[in-house]
Subunit: 525 residues, 2 copies
């Protein structure tokens, strides 16, 4: 395992500073035998400068060339060996099957963007041809498509060391759009990051693309410098609300403000209609317990709030859920900081008036204990939204409301979240409609009779939602629409065909679907 | 002319405050005989509350219902009588033909959005059907479309009292998206605003839509309250850089930050290649003089910087341009404030070292004198970008660079602008390619052999550009793509067909183009 802990800048491995840190074995807390050097402010500037130079060539690469590049990265990831899997397991505390599955998800994600590139619709081509005879004024020929925004700063997440990190969805979608990427490696899994970055660099070389297309920096203190670097044109972040807000503020204060796409928090309310609890309460309890504790509850889509209707079936469900959560093993967390935050969050919940612990509790040595609370519905109506502060880890809160009316009044007041699930029987479908109408204004994904964990990477996925779930609810960070974050429209007026970029030429050489004079067509003009 | 100067709130005309103001006759400065009441903070809250209530119904209106509403507004605008035209002329100082043309542009803009609604592609429907047999995990059915963001605050612009004001592009695109609108009437044309708002309210009533879908407030002090109102979910603004920046800061500081789409400034660089000047320098000079002084130079697309190559043909062009600008009449400005700002901007230019006035000068009584300056190219390289500060009015600056190399080094350093024009002959096309590559990263619209004024309202238009041209270069404020600003994606996972919104149902009842399992089709599933 050749891990040297230096920055990745313009194809070189460099380290100006001697300040170093290590990562830890998540399950024991022991330091791992790898050393990483804190990037300096000057190194941040160098990585961004290399990305800025590389941008002028990279943004002009053809669709096929970029698609092959993404597939080459995917191939390099797939070829990482068992030692790699071992390192990821050590740094994250996640089991082997999960890591292997996440690696496949990550490489397939890159392959999905390759498909999207070849489909060409991400270019958003719109053509209005000239109307020289129009009265009172002629219309010039105008042709629009979308181009890359510029170098993107990517902040990897701790909880998906592969799928939301160095070569994860943010990087994949930025590269697909034609934007170079400078990654701030997550300090929780720097060795994992180095090995993935190596795969990315090999793919760049195999594709003869400029080295500045990908850079990566280690360190805990460099985030602000990276966001403030003038060459950076957008920021993608997955992490805590506080860190996301700080990045948004920094980006807004730049001489040239830039967009920050931060996926920050959420508790993913689950709503259980009475007949569903009556018919299959025990099954739902088992499913929810599994979903709330999956990956030690360290998913942004963890169901952290479960709302049912008071009554006999709710009480039975409550007991089933308490039992099911009580049977879960104490959970290894990604790192000590996250375990400490979990304890703090549990303390906050314990201190709320009108809440009681049904099973679980605080942590057990260096593990988190899966826990379920029962809260009074008054806490849902409280203007401080105490039940909507995410507690990252294997805990969920159960609440009973009196009736549908109480629920319908409540839903529009919820904070923004990533998802909401609705469990209902066939005979309750008509009751669902007003709930759906309210829920879709508060979340990005609404789910029927299923659990929120498991985020499919596909064209239709929305992994986003109103603030504070994300900083920009007009976007998604998972699925092919994620590319849109890094593209901007530009139009050409009156240009001769020979000067137009290929996707806008009369002949439509890529055969893509284009909006021509108000009609969609893949024909030539 | 029944102008009462009260706020438009939830279908009522109200005024809490007695603080009042008048607008002025732009050409004489005399007060007009209409009184407008400053909206209070409470009235801002009331208008936003009405919009918030109306949103729940309005966002669920069908495509056809919203299209008819937009067409009804267009019809009401077209029916406004000659007295209306007279009021707009008085308040703006703009000539009758311009006002009539702008009215038609405004109503046709509404009709374009009606067409876009019926086309249905704005919904961005993406469907991935279930793959129950997939290994290792089944795929659920996931369906995405875009829904309205919520109530939008619209700040009208002074320079287009119809097309970028009460019922202008921002309002039209927000209403098309299903978002209620609360307009801050521009204090430069409040009587115009009241008459247009009346047309909008009549259209709402004829279509039996909730009164809260449209509100309008008069006053100079209410902008901050409007942006800070929690019910507002996006802001659209056209105006100065300083005001736009202030709104962005306010929006970012809200407990729930919201997007601000501000179109703020630009000087629209025009680049003249040598053969074009040789072949048709006099013609281009005449065209540029007309474009720079059109509407008294009060267009965001005014060509404010003209760059040629040193030499004999440039010198001749310089003299033609000076003569053509010198022949233009002193110009009535929209209001005294704008005339004063023009004088200040002219002073700034005069004081630059290496600049000289070729024709025109400071203002003549209460008119602005069309003016052209010649500046040394060192000013283009200056790190303060002194030639890129917009001076709103009939002035442009001419600069000669030494050669193509100097230009190519210069272009990537330009600030963001809305447009850039390139004039070239057939034999110079190959010289254009590197210029285009550089320009498209700095502007939203690049124009070949034509002037930047005249912004076609169509599908392909981009009226946007990198900061400080706009606050968000991923959007446009003119053309059908402007709707995208007010939409966000949401997806439904595992929903029965009966609970899905119409555009996502298997039958595809609207017959719209949808991305189904990676292929575009208008067929049912």
């Amino acid at each position: 395992m050749n891990i040297i802990g230096k920055q990745f800048i313009n194809g070189q491995r460099v380290a100006q500073s001697k300040v170093a840190f290590s990562s830890s074995d998540a399950s024991t807390g022991a330091a791992l035998p790898y050393t990483f050097f804190e990037a300096t402010g000057e190194e941040v500037q160098q990585a961004v400068a290399a990305a800025t130079v590389a941008f002028m060539q990279f943004r002009q690469t053809g669709i096929e060339e970029r698609a092959v590049f993404l597939e080459t990265i995917a191939g390099e990831l797939d070829e990482l060996d068992n030692d790699f899997i071992g390192v990821v397991m050590q740094e994250s505390g996640l089991p082997e099957a999960r890591i292997r599955g996440e690696r496949q998800r990550t490489s397939n994600q890159l392959r999905l963007f390759a498909q999207v590139l070849r489909r060409g619709d991400f270019l958003g081509v719109r053509i209005d041809t000239a109307l020289p005879e129009r009265q009172p004024l002629s219309r010039p020929d105008i042709r629009q498509y979308r181009i890359a925004l510029g170098p993107v700063a990517v902040f990897g997440a701790s909880n998906f060391p592969l799928a939301f990190s160095v070569a994860g969805g943010d990087t994949a979608s930025a590269l697909a759009a034609g934007c170079p990427v400078v990654v701030k490696a997550h300090p929780g899994h720097p060795a994992t990051s180095e090995l993935v970055a190596g795969a990315l660099v090999r793919a760049l070389r195999r594709c003869n693309l400029p080295a500045g297309v990908f850079g990566m920096l280690f360190g805990n203190m460099i985030g602000a410098d990276l966001v403030k670097a003038s060459g950076i044109k957008a920021v993608a972040f997955t992490g805590s609300l506080r860190a996301g807000q700080a990045l948004c503020e920094l980006a807004a204060q730049r001489p040239e403000p830039i967009p920050v796409f931060a996926e920050m928090s959420g508790i993913n309310p689950v709503i259980l209609l009475p007949k569903a609890l009556e018919q299959r309460g025990e099954l739902i309890a088992a499913g929810l317990a599994a979903s709330a504790t999956l990956g030690s509850g360290q998913f942004c889509t963890k169901p952290g709030l479960v709302i049912g209707f008071k009554g006999e079936y709710f009480d039975r469900f409550r007991d089933h859920l308490a039992a099911a959560i009580g049977e879960k093993e104490p959970a290894v967390m990604l790192n000590r900081g996250i375990l400490n935050n979990y304890d703090d969050g549990m303390d906050r919940l314990y201190r709320l008036p009108g809440i009681k612990c049904l099973s679980g509790g605080t942590h057990n040595e260096n593990r988190a204990l899966p826990t379920v609370f029962l809260a009074d519905s008054s806490l849902l109506h409280h203007r401080d939204h105490p039940l909507e502060n995410e507690v990252f880890g294997p805990v969920t809160v159960l609440v009973a409301v009196s009736d549908q009316q109480e629920l319908i009044e409540l839903l529009p007041e919820l904070h923004g979240h990533l998802t909401s699930s609705l469990f209902a029987e066939q005979c309750e479908l008509s009751d669902c409609l007003p709930l759906i109408e309210a829920l879709e204004t508060r979340v990005g994904r609404i789910i029927f009779n299923d659990y929120p964990t498991g985020v499919e990477v596909c064209d239709a996925m929305v992994h986003g939602g109103p603030y504070p779930a994300t900083s920009d609810n007009r976007t998604t960070s998972v699925g092919s629409l994620a590319m849109d974050r890094f593209l901007r429209p530009v139009c050409y007026q009156g240009y001769p065909d020979s000067l137009l970029p290929a996707p806008l030429k009369n002949a439509n050489p890529h055969g893509i679907l284009r909006l021509v004079n108000g009609k969609w067509t893949d024909k030539a003009i």
